[in-house]
């Protein structure tokens, strides 16, 4: 009995310590400024979003989003620490204060906001879940996957969408749930599963970077879910949330106003009052955010506007070659809409 009791106490201690750490999280902006760097939770390796190269440098649209925060706060993109988080660890890392912001292709959902105590910033990538199959199967639509075995990673909205899709179409299927991305990809490419499902950007990334022969595989046209991928912070820290939110709007606004990392210095001379406010020529915006007046200038100069980060990481200048699609600016028929910086 004594051991039983001790184990119970040890267990309670461990769990409590984990959650208790979160109590030190009041005023994240001050904490971040105090320690001189921002800690971002990123994926364990999704090409185009956040992936470490051979030298340990992270690239991807999520990594760049995090760098934009560092640029806005410190004027230095290197003041970031990336913490790779699995799908399962990510929310606990954020809740417990291990990371300041989660920039890790994470879908915004109701339960994640309401039950997990998180707030999601504006979406930085609109995605949708799809399926990849071997071309040899001759499948044209996901609805033909009757009785198929489907490889999927646990702890994601993917697992739920998968079940919902097959349920609503009254098709049988067998999930094979594997925790590590590498293992789930291996399982699919070795033929353990007929189909592999995740966000379509992720499928494109896997197909290009992991398939033995990318042309042997095809991403099916079906989009079975809405996956608005957005950075997340702890709920209840409005000052910090506002910074995270507006750095992203600033990058969208910059693209809309035609400001890029190359021409930002010329733009300082612009007569457009919107540009002047954004770049801090007319002061006030930075002060309101408790940041330097050069916050947006630094983010744009050092990281780029939204369109630049998109093209560089997932778009036409990258290996993934994804279309802008719904991620185009609202002025060009997309969903990306920067709120007015004024």
């Amino acid at each position: 009995m004594a051991t039983l009791k001790l184990m119970g106490i040890a267990a309670a201690t461990g769990l409590a310590a984990m959650v208790a750490a979160g109590s030190a999280s009041a005023g994240t902006l001050d904490t971040v400024k105090g320690k001189g760097m921002i800690t971002c939770g990123v994926s364990t390796g999704v090409a185009g979003f956040s992936i470490a190269d051979s030298t340990g440098k992270y690239t991807g649209i999520d990594a760049d989003t995090c760098r934009a925060y560092a640029a806005a706060i410190f004027g230095d993109v290197n003041k970031v620490k990336f913490v790779p988080a699995t799908a399962q660890q990510r929310f606990t890392l954020l809740q417990s204060g291990e990371i300041d912001v989660l920039t890790r292709n994470t879908t915004r959902t109701l339960t994640r906001e309401a039950d997990l105590g998180l707030s999601f910033a504006p979406v930085n990538f609109y995605d949708g879940q799809g399926f990849m199959v071997a071309k040899a199967l001759n499948v044209k639509s996901a609805k033909e996957l009757k009785g198929a075995t489907v490889c999927v990673q646990p702890g994601t909205t993917t697992e739920l969408n998968l079940a919902d899709f097959f349920r609503s179409n009254k098709i049988d299927f067998k999930p094979v749930v594997i925790e590590k991305l590498d293992e789930v990809e291996n399982a699919f490419f070795s033929g353990r599963c007929d189909a592999y499902t995740t966000d379509r950007s992720g499928l494109a990334s896997t197909r290009i970077s992991k398939a033995p022969k990318p042309d042997d595989y095809v991403v099916l046209p079906d989009v079975i879910s809405k996956e608005p991928l957005a950075p997340a912070v702890r709920r209840g820290d409005d000052e910090w949330y506002t910074v995270i939110e507006w750095v992203q709007y600033a990058m969208l606004e910059a693209e809309e106003r035609g400001i890029t990392s190359k021409n930002v210095d010329d733009m300082l001379k612009s007569d457009d009052p919107n540009v002047k406010r954004l770049l801090g020529v007319t002061p006030g915006m930075g002060k309101s955010l408790h940041l330097d007046e050069k916050w947006a200038y630094n983010a744009i100069k050092l990281v780029g506007n939204y369109g630049e980060t998109f093209d560089r990481n997932v778009g036409k200048d990258s290996a993934l070659k994804l279309e802008r699609g719904v991620n185009e600016l609202w002025t060009k028929g997309g969903l990306m809409y920067g709120m007015p910086v004024r």
């Binding site: 184990m7 979160g22 929310f91 105590g117 075995t149 697992e159 749930v177 590590k180």
Partner: protein, 396 residues
Amino acid sequence: MTTDAVYKPAETSKVAFYRDPRIRAIFFQVVVVGAVVALAVFLVNNTLVNMARQGIATGFGFLDKESSFAIGESLIAYDPSDTYRRAFVVGLLNTLSVAITGIVFATILGVFVGIARLSTNWLIRKLAQVYVEFLRNIPLLLQLFVWWDLLRVSAPGPRQAWQPLPDVFVSNRGLLYPVPVWTEVHAWMGIASLVGIVGTYILGKWAKARQAQTGQQFPLLKVGLGLILGLPLLVYLAGGAPTELNKPVLSGFNFVGGHGVSPEFAALLIGLSVYTSAYIGEIVRSGIQAVNWGQSEAAAALGLSKARSLRLVVLPQALRVIVPPMTSQYLNITKNSSLAVAIGFPDLVSIGNTSLNQTGQAVEVIAMVMAVYLIISLSISLFMNWYNSAIALQTR
């Protein structure tokens, strides 16, 4: 001689209560227990308060919500419209099934390895040694990956499945075999074999008593097997010998019907059994070697054959050395089965992880998973302790 000479502590030399070692001992124990309890209460309370402040949901209400996720293999009927509670039961049954079959296989394999380690044949002895040293010196997780890769990569796709026997298919979807369609006759067969087991047990008692009295022996093994296997066979024939089979048939992307073992389950079962059998082999070897050589000599002097002296003289004594460390190995199999999550078998931890992520209630889910493993492990310990005391040396 008088009894008055017995020493009695002087009642007059009364010390202050705080100098009394007994009272002090009790006092310190109370203080320590109190501090530990207070710490636990503080931490639990702190956790709850913090979670409430951060707006994280707490409590076990989520267990009755719809789980909405599918599970690849299940011993009971389950679909995504069932509750989290049922999903947990599915995971628990999967864990239990792999742990129990693993324990049986590892024990059988381990006993053979242990005896082989002591073989007089040089080749067998050395092979067993290589087996033990090779398996127990490589991390289990790696072994699981190797088994999984082997099963997955070496087997063909479902459409090119091997067919070693009619209606038995081997593919990278697993091993599929036909099962008889369930009828009443099968239920009666189960009852018949139960009757056979009870009959054999009673017969064994009678045979032992008779041998003790008259020295006559009874062919218990043959008669017992006859009872346990023969009775159900008779019932089967009397029931009209139903032959209808539920056969696996390729339909669409996969097989429908029959029963099957997935590559994940097989890899986990083989990995756990083989790994643990190396340890069990060493335990069995040491147990046999712990029995004094004189016992074997005495048995030989009495004219017992080698097999009999092993069965009647050496093993019963060796068991007393073997059983306690064996308990640890059984606990290890149960706990190691949680590595299933790495190779995609939906055990308790895997389903717990998914639930944890969908609901975000890490504290509750992890507490539940821990409690379940604790209960399983304590049950195994209790059973093995009972067994240990049952075979312990009896002083008459």
